[in-house]
C-alpha cells in the first residue's frame, strides 16, 4: 500500500440535469491537511459528502486505506457547519455516543479527557442548549476525536461562528492536531483559514466543479498570516478565485 490514504478518482455527480462535480481527482497522504476552497455553490459540500461516503458519485471512485468507499464509516468523522451534537444528550453522553468500549468507567474517563482537551471541563453534564455556539463546536470536535478517527472531514466547520470565535477555534484545532495526528479534509470559503491550517490548498472552479489549481503551503506552524509568504499565497489563491 502506498502512503496515499485517500485516493479520489474521476468523481462526477449530477443532480438531475445539473452537473455538479465534473471529474475531480486527487490524493491525500496519511496525516496531511488538505483544504478545499471554491466559490459558493460550486459543489464543494457535495464532493466532501461523496468522499465521506454520505452520497454516491455517478462516476468515479473513492479509496480509503486501500478499500473502496461504499458508505460512511467511523474511520472518518464529518463535522459540518450546522453541527450535529445531539440536543437530548449531555456533553458527556454525546461524547460517549460513538464509543464502543464495554466498560462504562473507561468510556466516561475517555470522554472526560477529551472534554477537558477542548476546554470544556466542568460542562460534562450540561445540555447543548445551555452552551454557546463556540462551545457547541468544541463538543462536536471532541465527539469526533474521541472515537479516534484517522480522518476528519470538515465542511465549513467554523463559518457559523463570529470572526473572533472562528479564529480561536482555528488555533484550537491546530493545537489539537499537534497532539493527535489526523488526516484532515477541510472545505472552506475562507482563504486565510485555509492558509493558516492546511498543508495543501485545492482551488475548485465554479459548477460543474473541477480542480483548478493546487497550492502547497510550506510554512512552519504557528503561522503568521501577515508574513510576506502567506500574503503572496493569499493573493495567488484569490486570483484563482477571480478576485
Amino acid at each position: 500500500m502506498s502512503d496515499k490514504q485517500i485516493i479520489v478518482e474521476g468523481i462526477t455527480k449530477r443532480f438531475g440535469a445539473l452537473p455538479v462535480v465534473e471529474g475531480v481527482g486527487f490524493d491525500v497522504r496519511d496525516g496531511e491537511f488538505v483544504a478545499i476552497v471554491g466559490p459558493s455553490g460550486c459543489g464543494k459540500s457535495t464532493l466532501l459528502n461523496i468522499i465521506a461516503g454520505f452520497e454516491r458519485p455517478d462516476r468515479g471512485t473513492v479509496t480509503i486505506d486501500g478499500v473502496r468507499r461504499t458508505g460512511p464509516s467511523r474511520n472518518g468523522i464529518m463535522i459540518s457547519q450546522h453541527g450535529s451534537v445531539f440536543p437530548w444528550l449531555t456533553v458527556q453522553e454525546n461524547l460517549m455516543f460513538g464509543l464502543r468500549g464495554t466498560s462504562q468507567a473507561d468510556n466516561t474517563e475517555l470522554a472526560d479527557r477529551y472534554i477537558a482537551m477542548v476546554g470544556l471541563a466542568g460542562f460534562e453534564t450540561a445540555y447543548p442548549h445551555e452552551l454557546s455556539g463556540g462551545m457547541l463546536k468544541r463538543v462536536e470536535l471532541a465527539r469526533a476525536l474521541v472515537v479516534k478517527p484517522e480522518i476528519l472531514y470538515m465542511d465549513e466547520p467554523f463559518s457559523a461562528l463570529d470572526a473572533l470565535m472562528s479564529l480561536r477555534m482555528q488555533n484550537e484545532l491546530r493545537r489539537i492536531l499537534d497532539e493527535e495526528r489526523h488526516t484532515v479534509l477541510l472545505i472552506t470559503h475562507d482563504v486565510e483559514e485555509a492558509i493558516f491550517l492546511a498543508d495543501r490548498v485545492l482551488v475548485l472552479s465554479p459548477r460543474p466543479t473541477a480542480i483548478q489549481a493546487t497550492f502547497h503551503v510550506d510554512l512552519p506552524h504557528p503561522r503568521k498570516l501577515s508574513s510576506p509568504q502567506a500574503q503572496s499565497l493569499r493573493e495567488a489563491i484569490l486570483k484563482e478565485l477571480g478576485l
Binding site: P72, I77, W88
Partner: protein
C-alpha cells in the same frame, strides 16, 4: 411584582370578577332556576358529603385512564413504525387522515351498538378520539427528524438498537408529548359527552341527571366547573413532562 405572582394574580382576579358578575346578575334577575355561586357551592357540598361526587369523578377519570392508556399503547409504536417505514406511511396515512376528522360524538351510536351502555362504550370512544392525534403527531415527529442527527449516527456506525434508543426515540419524544397533550384534552371532552348519553355514572351523567331530576342547575354548574378544573390539572400534568431535561431543547428558543 415578581414573575410568579404576575402569573397567578391576574387570572385569579378575572375569575373572581366573573363570579361576582354572575352573582350580581342572578341576584338582580331573581331567576327561580339559575343558581347563585353560593348555591352551587352548597349543592356541590351535598354531593361531597354523601360521597356521590367522588364516585362520579372516579368513574370519569377511570374511563379516560383506560381509554387514553390503550390509545397510547397503540399510537406510539404505530406512529414510530409509520414514521420510519415509508411504505407503512403511504399505506396507512390516508386511512388515518380520513378517520381523524370524524367527530368522536358521531361514533356514539356505533359504540352503543357494539359495546352496549356499560363502561366499554366510553372507553372505546376515548380510544377513538385520542389515538389518531397521537399517531399523527408521532409519525410527523419521526419523519421530521433533522437528517444531520441520523447522519451523525450513521457516521459513528452505531447498531440499529442504539440508533433507535439514543437518536430516533429521544428526537421524537417532544412530539409524542405534544400528541399526548392533544390526546388527553380530546379524551376529557369526549368522556363527558359520552356519559351524557349512555351511562349512569360519571360527570357527564351527573349533568344530565341533575337537570332531569328537578332542574338542579346548581349541580349542573358545579359539574361543569369540576370538569374544567380536572381538565386543567390533566393539561398541567402533561406540561410537567415538557419540563424534562431531555426534551427541553425542543421547547426553548
Amino acid at each position: 411584582m415578581d414573575g410568579k405572582l404576575a402569573r397567578i394574580v391576574p387570572p385569579v382576579l378575572v375569575i373572581a370578577l366573573l363570579i361576582a358578575l354572575w352573582w350580581f346578575i342572578v341576584a338582580r334577575s331573581d331567576s327561580p332556576i339559575f343558581p347563585t355561586p353560593w348555591q352551587v357551592v352548597t349543592g356541590a357540598w351535598e354531593l361531597v358529603e354523601d360521597g356521590t361526587l367522588a364516585q362520579h369523578i372516579g368513574a370519569s377519570v377511570f374511563r379516560v385512564a383506560i381509554g387514553f392508556g390503550l390509545a397510547f399503547l397503540v399510537a406510539i409504536p404505530l406512529g414510530l413504525w409509520m414514521g420510519w417505514v415509508s411504505s407503512a406511511y403511504y399505506t396507512l396515512n390516508p386511512l388515518f387522515q380520513m378517520l381523524r376528522p370524524i367527530s368522536p360524538i358521531a361514533w356514539i351510536p356505533v359504540a352503543i351498538l357494539w359495546f352496549g351502555v356499560g363502561n366499554m362504550s366510553p372507553i372505546f370512544l376515548i380510544f377513538i378520539s385520542s389515538v389518531f392525534p397521537m399517531i399523527v403527531q408521532t409519525t410527523v415527529g419521526v419523519r421530521t427528524i433533522d437528517r444531520r442527527y441520523l447522519r451523525a449516527a450513521a457516521n459513528f456506525g452505531v447498531s440499529r438498537s442504539v440508533l433507535f434508543r439514543r437518536v430516533v426515540f429521544p428526537a421524537v419524544l417532544p412530539e409524542i408529548i405534544v400528541g399526548m397533550r392533544i390526546g388527553i384534552g380530546v379524551a376529557w371532552l369526549v368522556v363527558v359527552a359520552a356519559e351524557m348519553i349512555a351511562l349512569n355514572s360519571g360527570l357527564g351523567y351527573l349533568i344530565m341527571d341533575s337537570r332531569n331530576a328537578g332542574n338542579r342547575y346548581d349541580l349542573v354548574i358545579a359539574s361543569m366547573i369540576i370538569i374544567g378544573v380536572i381538565g386543567l390539572l390533566l393539561d398541567g400534568a402533561t406540561r410537567l413532562l415538557e419540563r424534562q431535561k431531555t426534551v427541553k431543547w425542543r421547547y426553548v428558543r
